[in-house]
Symmetry: C2
Subunit: 436 residues, 2 copies
């Protein structure tokens, strides 16, 4: 099993009773609850609230061995995974390495507009956001101050909407109370989306409600807008289909939530199997999630290009990865029992996105919820899903406190993560040593 | 006011009613509760539990302006502090920039044996400790495994004892439950102290009790032992006064808790005033904590060489810094009222150190406590001192959980902080992007 995210962990858990040995290879030592990453990036939660050590989660599972290592290659002919801690042999291989955002042919934009997929991303973005406020406070030049108070989020999917909503809240509350010299009017949060509307996966009425809620938080929503350039001082964009000159916004912080590109392991795996990865870098898999010519190798989650019963590709959602992980475990056990396995069937569990304190949109079958009711549902579902009891209780408490006090206690700027410290932690520590 | 630690913050707070404008210059955006740093370094608490945003703490103080900036120089003749965000003029200057550990003429040891003074230090040490366990688990060579399971702490003061005790607990509990292949017998925690006994500031009976408690946790205590070399694979040391060849321990993790060297700002300040810093790099100050020839400049806390009424230098304790901060504020207000100010008098509040779950030693005037009673006192005092309500409640809850479950939920290895990632966060992110 490669990957300790939703897909990998659900597969390992579902193999609890199976007469198999499982080696779980993961490059971090924790399982990350990605849907709440934006809360870490905006100082509402601490990293440890949404990341649980894998060894703790899998404690007592005698048939599981956790290996913290980086996967460097696959040798499917001899059934071996190459890792930074040596070769790992297997009978059945399940790969669930996830995805990152896509910069549509402009990888150089990533340094200026980071995406939010890992705990390191979240800690880095948290440093950028809160040092932008500090820099704005210290700036004497009004243009410079305005630039530091301008935040641009690219991509109007759930993660872009959640980030923009949180930034709007920060501008609304945190600024007013902790930076008395700045007002909400001086802060600009812009959400850029290439499509017709934000939250395109939702019904149109919910998209409209989400847009209204964002605008109430002071977020300017620009749909049908394409980004044409990103640098260290701002963003350029123009309306879809328009040939005019691009418009430029000077912005101290640009965050990226658009597109989807599979983990580099997906193309490594496709190459090893003699297959071709798709445009998003995903491995093509069959109806039983195995690779063509390699029935003993499965790819699941974001990095797999699987097709639903309707012939359309499955969306990159946590619920898809969870169900695919359980399916992969069932495939292993039914094979051991000598049975054939049916095709993978995805059962939609609905989808939801939160916009700010006390506001979310949710769509579950025919049910549509928004506003405070949507938020209560969102809260309940996410708390239920948090994997360990301690996290659940701590997060609930932190949210309760956050809800009533509107404070953001986890807004630490850790060195090596602010805008000017791009050389990273090692050099920043050396500097810290010399000067304080 | 330079520095947002115990000294700086207590001074700013004590100036609440004074008719003055205060600019608090601090290079981070938070106040750090240093006495609990070792809990972050060993995965018991999250960084945000012991670090509170300065703007949150000082919210509503109309006479305080917080400036997040690095101090780069002092121009005492024109009464200006030079910072990374421009010059800051002052009428009275109070500097409280703290200290780091001392490597006794071997600064090159720091990269192999980091000290624990900042949040970055703690996150880095946490990464080292928990990736050492992962590496030991993945190692096939027994010597290599033994090296990764050997932890050396240099310095038997309170912070060294606390770190060694926590490492002993990790070897005791975490290992047994999460790394079933390893046993307590394979793990070695060594505490090296140059003096006669650990916790030299305490009565001898408490030192003995602390040593016993450490040994029960599996920590080997070596007193009267001098470190003669540190490199990336271990430590060399020999008995005090002995001319024999040094002994070597192969150790995957070496931590430094010995010595005290004032912040680089102390010598900058001393130079600016035409004074000479002492052997530990501290600024000499008079009985009213001002610099000779500059009655408008005060230095307080660890970075100041102040003398007690008995003619002996004051210890580098949080209580000293707290009281000096309050004194500095009183000095400012009495001067404004035209009065002369009495000399600074330190009132000892006692001292305590914790060794592990449910064990601490405390000495308060004639009172001596140890074991569980000492720990309850330690817990009460530290919870009282935590600056914000949310931190207090969250920390108590996390400790309660930790106490009963013995889990360490905050043991995240964040990239750029493990032993092999010494190039820092920037390169680690690039690598993470390519491979997962």
């Amino acid at each position: 099993m490669v990957g300790g995210g939703f897909g990998g962990l659900s597969c390992v858990r579902a193999l609890r009773e199976a007469p198999v040995h499982v080696t779980l290879i993961e490059r971090t030592n924790y399982h990350l609850f990605q849907p709440l990453l934006y809360q870490v990036a905006t100082g509402g939660l601490s990293p440890a609230n949404i990341a649980a050590p894998l060894r703790g989660i899998l404690r007592g599972r005698r048939n599981v061995h956790v290996l913290q290592a980086e996967v460097t290659g696959f040798r499917l002919d001899v059934r071996v995974v190459e890792t930074s801690s040596g070769d790992v042999p297997y009978d059945t291989l399940v790969v669930a390495a996830g995805s990152r955002h896509d910069y549509f042919g402009h990888p150089e934009w990533e340094q200026f507009a980071p995406g939010l997929k890992t705990l390191e991303d979240a800690i880095g973005i948290r440093g950028r956001v809160f040092s932008a406020l500090e820099r704005a406070d210290a700036a004497s030049d009004p243009a410079e101050r305005k630039r530091w108070l301008t935040f641009v989020v690219v991509g109007g999917g759930p993660s872009g909407v959640e980030l923009a909503g949180q930034l709007g809240e920060i501008a609304h509350d945190t600024l007013r109370r902790d930076f008395p010299q700045m007002t909400r009017e001086t802060t600009h949060v812009v959400l850029i989306e290439a499509g017709e509307r934000v939250l395109a996966a939702f019904k149109e009425s919910l998209s409209t409600r989400a847009t209204d809620a964002l605008e109430q938080l002071g977020v300017r929503v620009r749909t049908r807008t394409f980004v044409t350039g990103v640098d260290d001082r701002g963003v350029e964009f123009k309306p879809a289909g328009d040939d005019s000159e691009p418009t430029r916004i000077e912005a101290g912080t640009v965050l990226w939530g658009a597109g989807m590109r599979a983990s580099g392991l997906a193309s490594l795996l496709a190459d090893a199997a003699g297959l071709e990865a798709d445009r998003s870098g995903r491995v093509p898999v069959g109806a039983d999630l195995t690779l063509a010519g390699h029935p003993e190798v499965l790819a699941i989650g974001d990095m797999a290009n699987a097709t639903g019963e309707d012939g359309r590709p499955l969306p990159g959602l946590a619920t898809v990865a969870l169900q695919q992980g359980e399916y992969a475990a069932r495939l292993v056990t039914t094979r051991l029992e000598g049975h054939a396995s049916p095709r993978f069937q995805y059962r939609s569990r609905g989808t939801m996105a939160t916009i700010g304190r006390g506001h979310a949109v949710a769509q579950i079958g025919p049910l549509r919820l928004w506003g405070f009711a949507g938020w209560m549902l969102w809260l309940a579902v996410h708390l239920m899903q948090l994997v360990t009891f301690q996290n659940r209780a701590l997060v609930l408490m932190q949210w309760g406190w956050h809800y009533f006090s509107r404070s953001r206690s986890a807004r630490l700027i850790v060195r090596g993560t602010s805008n000017e410290d791009k050389d990273g932690a090692a050099s920043a520590t050396a500097e810290g040593r010399a000067s304080a």
